[in-house]
Amino acid sequence: MGRTIIKTIVSGLALALYSGAVSAEWEVNLTPGVTDISSSVFDLHMTIFWICVAIALVVFGVMFWSIFHHRKSRGAQAHHFHENTLVEVIWTVIPILILVAMAVPATATLVEMYDTDEAELDVQITGYQWKWRYDYLDQDLNFFSNLSTPREQISNEADKQEHYLLEVDRHLVLPVDTKIRFLLTSNDVIHSWWVPALAVKKDAIPGFINEAWAVINEPGIYRGQCAELCGKDHGFMPVVVEAVSKDEFQQWLAQAQAEKQAEAAAAERTWTLDELMQQGEQVYVRACAACHLPNGEGVPGAFPALKGSPIAMGDVAAHIDIVLNGKSGTAMQAFRDQLSATELAAVITYERNAWGNSLGEAVSPAQIARLLEPSTGEAEQ
């Protein structure tokens, strides 16, 4: 039986070794990442791994040697010794020395991670159930980043694409060779923002601010996920970081700001019911369907149905209020900061006219924009 165990272990080790060589395709090992910190983390990981392998070889080696040679069927006689303080002291001291040797580089890396020097770019990251919001604090820009994998792929009605579940509608675009500080907090429950390639994983805790930092060395797209169980769609709030050159970053900023202005202007024109319904459905699927379900039927006991609900069928002002301002003490969030005026108008219109809620009335984006007005100026500060 010893042989089989050895075989299992050897093949396990071989697999681990092999993994180092082809990690790009196979993804069986930690990524070395694209920051100095992530590569020292990777080195630490490999060092401690090989130390463990070495200890395992010695301990299991002795164990299997005695399993082979000291078996009764080979006529082995038990030798009655049952203590040897010297041996015990030796096998206690050696692990301690190994651990000390391990602690030194680990401490150095940890100290580096806790660097509190000034950063060139500050990004506030706020966890929401179940999306991330990014605020470029000095650039007057913020947006939400939602999962963009279509529902059909998740429910196996369409083929899954390459970045299934690791794709979002808006990337967190960051410049390379720039010290970036992430300031993490949460809107509701505890989330954890994790990008393996940056070796950054920090909890986003409601009411508290946490920080982490990174200097990205290489342009590219780096994907991660929420790491702390945060409710139903915990598995569906990925993080996508797009690292670009400093010039490209400036261009991207300018473009993003222009888009924001265009969106505000769009709210002022007249929208038809059909247009609103069309956009409303998209917004609904993105922002509402996770709880209220695509068919508007909700989850009894957890999330109320919208289909035939007194709010979606009742007074329009109350409906707008609950969508804009949320409802205290429930999972209903305040969407005024999360969606644009047009999107809000569209989704409210949609909710009032979908699934047999046929009120036939449209909520105009301009009307919503006015409700948002006193705020917009201050909120962007």
Partner: protein, 67 residues
């Protein structure tokens, strides 16, 4: 030679337990003549000491790292 473990011997026994190494002879002595309360108290004391030592270790590491 008295059979009762001295304070020093109690201390050594507790330290040995932190390492997880103890000789049969000392154990026999501990259990034949030692009082459990002494060992528990010494153990708690040593645990507190352990915490202090680790804190000092951390301080030292931090000062080395210049943080």
């Amino acid at each position: 030679m008295s059979d009762k473990p001295t304070f020093w011997q109690t201390l050594m026994s507790v330290l040995a337990s932190f390492l997880g190494v103890q000789s049969e002879r000392n154990r026999q002595r501990d259990f034949r003549t030692g009082r459990p309360l002494h060992y528990i108290l010494t153990g708690l004391l040593m645990a507190a000491l352990f915490v202090i030592v680790v804190i000092l270790l951390v301080r030292w590491a931090l000062s080395l790292a210049g943080a």
